[in-house]
Symmetry: C2
Amino acid sequence: MLISESSLRTFTQNIFLAMGCSNEHAELAADVLLLSDLRGIDSHGVARLIGYVRLWENKRINAIPNITIVHETPTTATVDGDAGLGLVVAPFAMQLAIKKAEKYGSGWVSVRNSNHFGIAGYHTLMAVEKDMIGYAMTNASPLVAPTFSNERLLGTNPICYAFPAGKYPPVVVDMATSAAANGKLEIAQRLGKQVPEGWIQDAAGNYTTDPHALKSGGSLLPLGSDRDHGSHKGFGLSATVDILSAVLSGANYGPWVPPFVAFLDPPANPVGLGIGHFVGAMRVDGFRPVDEFKAHMDNWVSRFKSASTVHPDQKVIIPGEPELEAQLDRKQNGIPLVDAVVNDLNGLADKFGIKRL
Amino acid sequence: MLISESSLRTFTQNIFLAMGCSNEHAELAADVLLLSDLRGIDSHGVARLIGYVRLWENKRINAIPNITIVHETPTTATVDGDAGLGLVVAPFAMQLAIKKAEKYGSGWVSVRNSNHFGIAGYHTLMAVEKDMIGYAMTNASPLVAPTFSNERLLGTNPICYAFPAGKYPPVVVDMATSAAANGKLEIAQRLGKQVPEGWIQDAAGNYTTDPHALKSGGSLLPLGSDRDHGSHKGFGLSATVDILSAVLSGANYGPWVPPFVAFLDPPANPVGLGIGHFVGAMRVDGFRPVDEFKAHMDNWVSRFKSASTVHPDQKVIIPGEPELEAQLDRKQNGIPLVDAVVNDLNGLADKFGIKRL
C-alpha cells in the first residue's frame, strides 16, 4: 500500500491524540515517525506505533508528561522525561541544547526517564537547521553481547552526528553500534532468509546465520563482529552511548534497560529511570564562519563522491544521501507500507474508533 | 632491552630539547610519548620519536610554535598550532577546553595546523583528572578507503572518550576507526605474518592478507570491513573525525592530510593548515553529582566485568583496563624496547650529541 505523507501524518496524529497526548505533542511525535518513514528507515516509523500504544496501555508510557530540567549549568543539563514518549522528550532536550548553544556556543543534555526516541537523525537535523552540528544517541533494550561474552548487555545504541553543508545536503552519520541493526534482522525473519555470519551468535556464543537465534537466547554482535575485526571497538562505542545516555543522566543502563516490547516486563531492580538519551549542539560559527565551513563541507563531499570505486557500478555513498533521496521520492510519490503494518495500524484505528487508513 | 621510565623520560626530553623545544614543551611532549609506552601502546610512544625529528628536519614541525586561539565563544574555540608538535598543541587545546568547562560546564576546541598528537587517551585523561568526561580525536595521513572505494582518503582517525569511575580506574575507549590500526599491520610486517581477511585490500580493491599491500597501492578498510558487516559505519565515524578535526578548524582533510613520514611530500594543493584535532571536556557535575555518577560507573564496570563469557578462560575487557595493567607493570618493571627502536633512538642521540640509552 502506498499512502501520501499527509494522510499518514493525520492518521498518526490521531492515534497519539487518542492516547491523550496534547495537540502539540501529537503533532511532534507524528513528525518524528513520519520523517523516519519518509527517509526510508521503515523499522523506526509508523511500524512502531503499535509498540508505543502497547507500552502506554501497560502504563509504561505517560501520554501527558511533565518534562523537567533537573540539573543545569550554562551549557549542560539533565532532563527527566517523566516516562513520556521519547518522540517528544528528545526534541525537548535538543531544543534546550540549541538554546544553550545560541548563548554559549554549545549545549549538551543527558536525558533520563524516557522511551524510544525514533530516529536519531530527526534530533540532530533540528540543530543543522540552525547552522549547528547536531549530536544524538540513545541506549536501548539489551540485545548485544560485549566481545567474548554471550550475555545481552547492551542495546543497538545508535550514534548520530549531522553536519550542515552548502550546495550539498547535510551529512548525517546515523548508525547502530552493532554489526547489524535489529531492523535488518527483522527483515530477514520476515523473508525467511539467513543472515551473514558475524551479525549474531547463538546462546552458547557460536556464530549463526539463523535470524531467529535472538529468540532462543542468542545475541547481536557489536560492530566489528569479532575481536580480530575490532568488535571491542563496537563494544566501546556502545558503552560510550550507554554511559553518556544513562549513567550520566540517571536512567537505566546495560541489562537494566527496560524492553521496548510490552510483553516483556522491565527488570525488577532498576538502577535508574526509564531509558536514556544524550543530545548536543555546537554552533558552527563557534569555530569558523559558517560560509567557510559550508564551502569546505561541499569540497569534502564532492571529493568523496568522486572517489574511484572497486566496481564501476558502485559509488561512494555520502552518509545521509540515500535517506535524502528516499525523502524526496516519498514526499512526492507516497510512503509504501507492508501489509503487516497496515493491519496493525487499522487495528489501532478500530481500537480508538478513528478512521482506518 | 628493558629501560626504566625515568631514564627513557630523560632521554626523550633531551631529544626534544636538542630540537630546540622549550623546557616546558620538551617535558610535556616526553610525558605524552612516555604514557603511550607505559600503557603498552608501543606504536605511538618513543618509537615515533625519529619520525618527529625527521619532520622537524624537513621544516614541517616547528619546535618553537606560537600556539594561538584564532576564534572563540564561551565554550568553543579554534586553535592554530603554528605547525608545532601535536604532543604540545593538543594538551594546549585540552587545557583550554577544561578551562571553559570549569566556567560554563563544557568546552570544545577544534585544532588546525598541528601534527601527530600521540595517543588520544593522554588528552582525555587530562579531563578525567578534573572529574570531567574527556573527548579527543585527530585526523591522520590517508590510508583508509571508504566503503566501495579503493582510494586512500581517510586516516585511521581515532576517537577517544574517557570517563572517571570510583573504585575502578577510568573507562577509556580509544580506538582507530579502521578495522585494524596501522600499528598492528606493522607488527605483522615485522614478523612476516599474514593478516586476517577484512583488514586491508589491494590496489584493485580485493581482500588480501599480505600486510605489505599498503606499499603497493592497497588500503586499510574501515571498521566493519565490508558493507554487509557495517563498513559504512566505520567510514561514517572516520568522516566524523575528519570533519570535526579539520573541516571545522581549517586543517587539511581527506586525501589532503600531510603524511607523517618525512620522505613523502605533503599534497601540493592544501585545503587547510597541517592536520586537525578535536578535543572536548564536560564536567560530570554539570549533569549529576560526581559521587552518584562514580557509584553508577562502578556498578556498570562491575556488571560488565562479571558477564558470562563464551569460553571459560576469557573475560569481558573493560575499555582502558589492559592499558592500565601495562602501566602499573611497566612503571615498576621498566619499558621493553625492541632493537630497531633502540637503534633509532641511539642514532638520534649520536646526531644530537647526547648520551645514548
